[in-house]
């Protein structure tokens, strides 16, 4: 490469797309954070739920999606496009694909910003977008992937720097997660049902949701850290060796941690434990990475005093460390019993989003803007002010949410000494006690927003005094045989791979083979491990060479990364999804929704009720005392999508059916404070005038049948008639309670749904015996916790 015959050429980087993504990130960042402040205000002042499309349940998904996919997404693409070109010493492979990626992504964001306030949603957190938009997301992601990998293939730097590894893991993993979690069957152009139900849906959703945090909000930003931090402080990363351990441990372990979002629920306990343990293990790689970032500043700590960019990066990395300490802490089941469904989790995610993502974005933009526009930053003083106002904002926000979450969690879980009664039986009392903290959140969020706006103005003024420039650089063209020489055969047919996967297969055999064979499999795994150690000691250099070759071969590296991230997901998801069927339920099976109840459920989903209400009574005494018997696996088995929720701003609704008369729900939806004094829930007057969707009901039920929900055969007319008949019945009952409504209105459908919540059947013992293979102990004893249910055979 450096020989006299080496060919040199001058390349011009595509910095236009970098500039575009940077500006888009700032603009959408301001929008997303502004919506965040608005929803925080709505939580304190319910009057600010001005219309149906500006209500909390619809705006909160807009806030989360805007911040994740629009603000951080654009920021991530900005950093990836800038650094990939420099690390590959090559211009992006296709200007057309770069432009298509940029404009396609912005179009998706605009579509999301329109559809979410309209109540068009899939009803799963961070996966709310409707199916046509999801297809666009998948296509645009493929465009990004093709452009990225094509650039790697034509690079002029033989080695793949660690930042590129993190980008590769992002491209691959997000594609898998997004596609699997969004598999749905459309019922109309704007509506679909996910193919997963109940616990399946919960498991897949949080495999996606947690790893969206991992591979959308973390790994690309770590890549950005590994590239930009050394550039800013003008010294190489503290330890390249540590970065190797950081990368592989992180991508392999992260993918297993999703179930920690479902602790103490009906999710199988072994999955909860796996989620908890792998989350705890994440401490090591996360802190390894954080220390690697912080120590990169060695010998240049004085820059912290003078350079706002270094301040942002170091504070960002510190927040990464804080968040990745707090995350595993919250994943401990006992801690989660207190923190889950409370504001503590909200504080945790904002420490990550505002501190880690937001500050890394600010540091990168302040560093990039002068370089992309060939000038100096308009004001370093403003950037410094942004840093301080942002830091104070985050601290106020996070501290108030910690206080609020812990306080409400303690109140909700408090019982008398005998454990027979709740200390605070009225949910509203616990909500009222945290109102002050919810107010501080507004102050913290507003301060952070002001800082971001200030950054936007600072960069705008920088742009005005400069001129867009594309960096040119003379590079040595890489000879064909200096990179990507490793074939698939060489990649996969070798000792390291054979022993690693052979060992894993044998361990899986231990887990899933019948008694006898499982022990044999375990013994074989032990023998295999001993053989691997022997082979390694004999041919250590060969094993090293194989790994070394991976670093100059993008395709094998990508395939191995894919395998590393896919393994955890497959092992957790496939058995549970395959087995969670009605025929395998041992105690309770959810009753199927009538057509009207299904219509009501879709309204519940569209209004975003899951943002504040859970439908999962955990296996915890305070939950059972407050809401009733704990939720079973089979009780949400027909719920497409599941609605277990992740936050309780209001009480759990899993057993809401028949708790109150129809008139209570009628009044509650019209003006929540008329039935629940002190509530901060929005009023829903539009439900009383708008009609529920009868037209698509037959199609919706047809899709439900396709998904395995046991509806009896009904034609379209019959479905509509049944819906209206039930509506008339409810209206009649309402009339006796002094309320008037039309049978085809949304409120009637919603009441029908709410009154169905918690209804289940108990399978007959003889049916279960018939359906059960020999060796599985039955009958079951409904109502007893799982651990008491397996031994009886009479």
């Amino acid at each position: 490469m450096t020989s006299a015959s080496a060919t040199k050429t001058t390349i011009e980087f595509n910095d236009k797309v970098v500039r575009q993504f940077m500006l888009a990130s700032i603009i959408w960042g301001v929008v997303g954070m502004l919506v965040g402040v608005i929803v925080a205000l709505q939580l304190n002042f319910h009057q600010l739920n001005l219309t149906s499309w500006l209500s909390f349940g619809r705006l909160r998904p807009l806030h989360t999606n805007a911040v994740i996919f629009a603000f951080v997404g654009n920021m991530m693409f900005c950093g990836v496009y800038y650094s990939t070109q420099r690390l590959c010493k090559a211009r992006m492979a296709s200007d057309f694909l770069s432009a298509l990626h940029f404009w396609g992504w912005q179009f998706i964001i605009v579509c999301a910003a329109i559809t979410l306030p309209l109540g068009l949603t899939r009803g799963q957190e961070y996966a709310e977008l409707i199916w046509p938009i999801n297809i666009m997301v998948a296509l645009i992601w493929v465009v990004f992937a093709v452009n990225f990998f094509w650039t790697l293939a034509k690079r002029n730097e033989p080695s793949l720097y660690v930042a590129l590894w993190f980008y590769i893991s992002t491209v691959i993993t997000i594609a898998i997660l997004y596609i699997v979690n969004h598999i749905s069957i459309p019922t109309s152009l704007t509506h679909s049902y996910t193919i997963f139900a109940g616990v399946q849906n919960g498991l897949v959703q949080w495999w996606y949701g947690h790893n969206a945090v991992a591979f959308f909000l973390t790994t690309p930003i770590l890549g950005i850290m590994y590239y930009f931090l050394p550039k800013v402080v003008e010294r190489p990363v503290y330890s390249y060796r540590l970065s190797i351990v950081h990368f592989w441990s992180l991508v392999f372990i992260y993918i297993w941690a999703g179930p920690h979002h479902l602790l103490n629920t009906a999710l199988p306990k072994w999955l909860q434990m796996l989620g908890m343990f792998f989350s705890l293990m994440l401490w090591a790689p996360s802190w390894g990475g954080m220390l690697n970032g912080l120590l990169t500043l060695r010998g240049a700590w004085d820059k912290l005093r003078t350079d706002p960019i270094v301040k942002f990066f170091i504070a960002g990395v510190t927040f990464y460390g804080m968040s990745t300490f707090e995350g595993p802490l919250l994943s401990i089941r006992a801690v989660n019993a207190l923190s889950h469904y409370s504001d503590w989790t909200i504080g945790h995610v904002h420490a990550g989003a505002l501190g880690w993502n937001g500050f890394m974005a600010a540091g990168m933009f302040y560093w990039l803007a002068p370089r992309l526009y060939g000038t100096k930053l308009h004001s370093l003083a403003w950037a410094n002010f942004h840093f301080w106002i942002g830091t104070i904002g985050i601290l106020i926000y996070v501290a108030s949410m910690w206080t609020s979450g812990i306080m409400q969690g303690l109140m909700l879980n408090s019982t008398n000494a005998e454990g027979t009664a709740l200390t605070y039986p009225n949910f509203i009392e616990t909500l009222t006690s945290i109102r002050a903290m919810m107010g501080f959140r507004i102050i913290g969020g507003t301060l952070y927003l002001v800082g971001t706006i200030l950054m936007g103005v600072n960069i705008f003024l920088t742009i005005r005094k400069g001129k867009a420039v594309n960096e040119s650089r003379e590079v040595v063209l890489l000879e064909r045989n200096a990179k990507d020489t490793m074939g698939m055969k060489e990649t996969f047919i070798n000792d390291p791979i054979a022993y690693m996967f052979g060992g894993l297969l044998l361990i899986l055999g231990w887990l899933f083979l019948p008694p006898g064979a499982d022990i044999a499999s375990l013994i074989c795994a032990g023998i295999f491990a001993a053989l691997a150690v022997k082979k390694f000691s004999e041919g250590h250099s060969r094993w090293s060479r194989w790994y070394e070759s991976l670093l100059t071969n993008w395709l094998p590296f990508t395939v191995l990364t894919f395998v590393a991230v896919a393994l955890g997901g497959l092992i957790q998801i496939i058995p549970t999804v395959a087995v969670t069927q009605a025929k395998n339920m041992e105690d309770r099976i959810q009753q199927v929704y009538t057509p009207l109840e299904l219509a009501g459920r879709d309204i519940y989903v569209a209004e975003g009720c899951y943002n504040c209400h859970s439908q999962m009574i955990r296996t915890m005494l305070p939950d059972v005392l407050r809401y009733g018997d704990y939720s079973r696996l089979g009780e949400s088995i027909y719920d497409h999508p599941y609605q277990w929720g992740s936050k309780r701003t209001g009480p759990d609704l899993a057993r809401e059916g028949d708790k109150y008369p129809h008139s209570w729900h009628f009044d509650h939806m019209m003006e929540p404070r008329s039935t629940s004094v002190g509530s901060n829930m929005p009023a829903y007057p539009h439900l009383f005038t708008e009609k529920f969707d009868q037209k698509t009901l037959p199609k919706k039920i047809a899709v439900m049948v396709q998904l395995g929900v046991p509806y009896p055969p009904m034609d379209g007319a019959e479905i509509k008639t049944k819906a209206i008949e039930q509506g008339i019945k409810i209206v009649g009952e309402l009339k006796t309670q002094g309320k008037a409504a039309e049978p085809d209105t949304k409120i009637v459908a919603l009441i029908a749904y709410l009154q169905k919540l918690g209804k289940y059947d108990v399978p007959k013992v003889e049916d279960k015996l018939q359906a059960t293979p020999e060796g599985i102990p039955f009958p079951v004893k409904p109502g007893l916790p799982d651990k008491f249910r397996s031994a009886s055979t009479n």
């Binding site: 190489p236 297993w256 087995v579 395998n584 799982d786």
Partner: protein, 51 residues
């Protein structure tokens, strides 16, 4: 066994599986990192600064 996947706890060995898998991955790459030649590590670390 397979059907019990949704009901069994397997408390006795799930933590060991989690620990074992993590330890395997972690130590494999620690060994790999330690055995990486210093010159190669330095060379890789300098790539972003190679303007």
């Amino acid at each position: 066994m397979f059907k019990r996947v949704i009901y069994d706890n397997w408390t006795e060995w799930v933590p060991y599986v989690a620990f074992g898998i993590t330890a395997l991955v972690f130590f494999s790459f620690v060994i790999r990192a330690i055995t990486l030649r210093k010159e190669r590590a330095d060379e890789m670390g300098r790539i972003p600064l190679d303007d």
